[in-house]
């Protein structure tokens, strides 16, 4: 005869017995409720926690008689279950609602089974069918959960090799930027600026802006440059115009100064902030 005990046994080595222990008090399994003895509800809580719910408790009641679920004597199981629940109630132990719902379901099955079945209704459901289906369903998962727990797993059974790696400070790759991202960003900022009414921003052709930067850069390194030296003949007429516009724009933005020592003397160009920068 085999008895399936509820899984998390507080003490696997404890002697087995046929009767459902009501409680474990100081290591002793109490199988009969002593009439004159007060059992603290805490102890019963231990019992209740042994079960994962009413289905688990029912399975226990069935399995300890080594009965097949399909052959359950519902009347008997119901009696035991209700006794159990009643005991809990008598001890004013607060049961989870699920246990009471199950008690009601069992009582209903029991009463339906007492009714004579009408022969003409062939397909009438066995009143036990739903309960047995649920019990079986729960039991499969209860068993497979145990099997899952038995699988080798990390932390308990398996330890991944984890060796120190050679010193490798990988250079962090620089973020990539696509030109289109840049353009989208600019479009967004321009739109924001446009919405702020008072901002009117002029945008000269890019060739002019670029040339402005080049001229400034040259003044930064050379300080004082003859006006004519800023023009490159080989750039042709268009290049000359761009440079001229750039210089005019720089003057307008007060970034450079055009100086002439005396009339007809050579014209020079210098950065306005050049002094500040140089010392």
């Amino acid at each position: 005869m085999s008895v399936r005990e509820p899984q998390p046994q507080p003490d696997a080595a404890a002697p087995r017995q046929e009767e459902l222990p009501f409680a474990i008090v100081l290591g002793e399994r109490i199988t009969e409720l002593p009439v004159d003895l007060y059992i603290p509800p805490d102890a019963l809580e231990v019992v209740l926690e042994t079960f994962e719910g009413p289905l688990d408790l029912l399975l226990y009641l069935i399995r300890r008689r080594n009965l097949d679920i399909l052959l359950v004597d519902v009347a008997e199981i119901t009696r035991q279950y209700i006794d159990y629940i009643a005991m809990m109630g008598a001890l004013r132990f607060e049961l989870a609602a699920e246990y009471l719902v199950m008690a009601a379901m069992l009582a209903e099955i029991k009463s339906r089974m007492l009714l004579p079945r009408q022969p003409e209704i062939e397909d009438e459901d066995d009143p036990r069918a739903e309960l047995i289906r649920r019990l079986q369903e729960y039991e499969r998962f209860k068993e497979v959960a145990v099997a899952l727990d038995a699988l080798p797993r990390l932390e308990r059974d398996l330890f991944p090799a984890q060796l120190p790696a050679p010193d490798c400070s990988a250079p962090r790759p620089l973020p990539r930027v696509e030109l289109r991202e840049l353009l989208v960003a600019l479009a967004a900022v321009m739109e924001r600026a446009r919405l702020q009414e008072h901002h009117h921003i002029r945008f000269e052709p890019l060739s002019t802006r670029a040339r402005m930067a080049d001229v400034l850069d040259r003044l930064r390194t050379q300080g004082f440059v003859p006006f004519v030296a800023l023009f490159k003949v080989e750039e042709g007429r268009r290049g000359v115009v761009v440079t001229f516009l750039a210089i005019m724009e720089l003057v307008k933005e007060a970034l450079i100064e055009i100086v002439q020592a005396e009339p007809y003397a050579p014209i020079h160009v210098t950065a306005r902030a050049a002094d500040g920068e140089r010392h």
Partner: protein
């Protein structure tokens, strides 16, 4: 030939040892310069060589859901686990049953789990499963309250040393209540269950777990 694959094999071995987590073929390819990347066939050959070499050693090469992992064999756990003072965490039945329901029935809602288990699933249980990244929310069922649908993750499979859900232990079969006509009969007069032999026996063998003890 052997000298050809040897450098590749060493690199793969070194990476698996250093990673401490599963690496898949693409990640192994990523160890190389784009122009020197071995193809999947070459990498599998290197992995085969590594696996063959593990025979009888303290470690093994295991393929889990996220890739290949070098790990110390489970049979050495009694010694190896002493390296860490903390005992590995034990998981209670409620968590394991919930996890099993999610694994076998995914995607499921908390309500689905509760209806099988017959009890409420605590929020802590779900939280722990989510925190361990064993399960994740894959959607919401289109019913009032829009309950979350849970499914297991690759990390779950990795943790339990599995490559795919197929490798989970088999779930027992449901039997029909067909012979209910014999309702009135005493259980002793029933045909023995041995008639239902084949699958039933197999099932028993598969679920014959260490925790279950038969009474003499």
């Amino acid at each position: 030939m052997a000298s050809d694959t040897e450098p590749l094999r060493r690199i793969v071995e070194g990476a698996l040892l250093a990673a401490g987590r599963p690496l898949d073929i693409a990640q192994l390819q990523g160890l190389f310069d784009p122009l020197e990347q071995p193809d999947a066939v070459q990498l599998r050959a290197a992995l085969d060589a590594i696996a063959a070499d593990c025979a009888g050693r303290a470690w093994e090469l295991r393929q889990t859901a996220s890739g290949y992992r070098l790990q110390v064999r489970a049979e050495l756990a009694p010694w190896i686990s002493r390296l860490w003072e903390e005992k590995p965490r034990r998981y209670g039945r409620s968590l394991l049953e919930t996890l099993a329901l999610i694994a076998y029935r995914q995607p499921v809602t908390r309500g689905d789990i509760e209806s099988v288990r017959g009890v409420a699933v605590s929020s802590d249980t779900i939280k722990l499963l989510l925190e361990r990244e064993w399960v994740r929310v894959v959607g919401h069922r289109d019913v009032p309250g829009k309950p979350a649908l849970y499914a297991t993750t690759r990390q779950f499979l990795d943790y339990f040393n599995l490559e795919s859900l197929d490798q989970l232990p088999p779930l027992g079969e449901l039997r029909d209540l067909e012979f209910s006509e014999g309702l009135e009969l005493a259980p002793t007069e029933k045909p023995t269950l041995a008639t239902a032999a084949g699958p039933e026996l197999e099932l028993t063998a598969a679920t014959d777990l260490p925790e279950e003890r038969a009474e003499p």
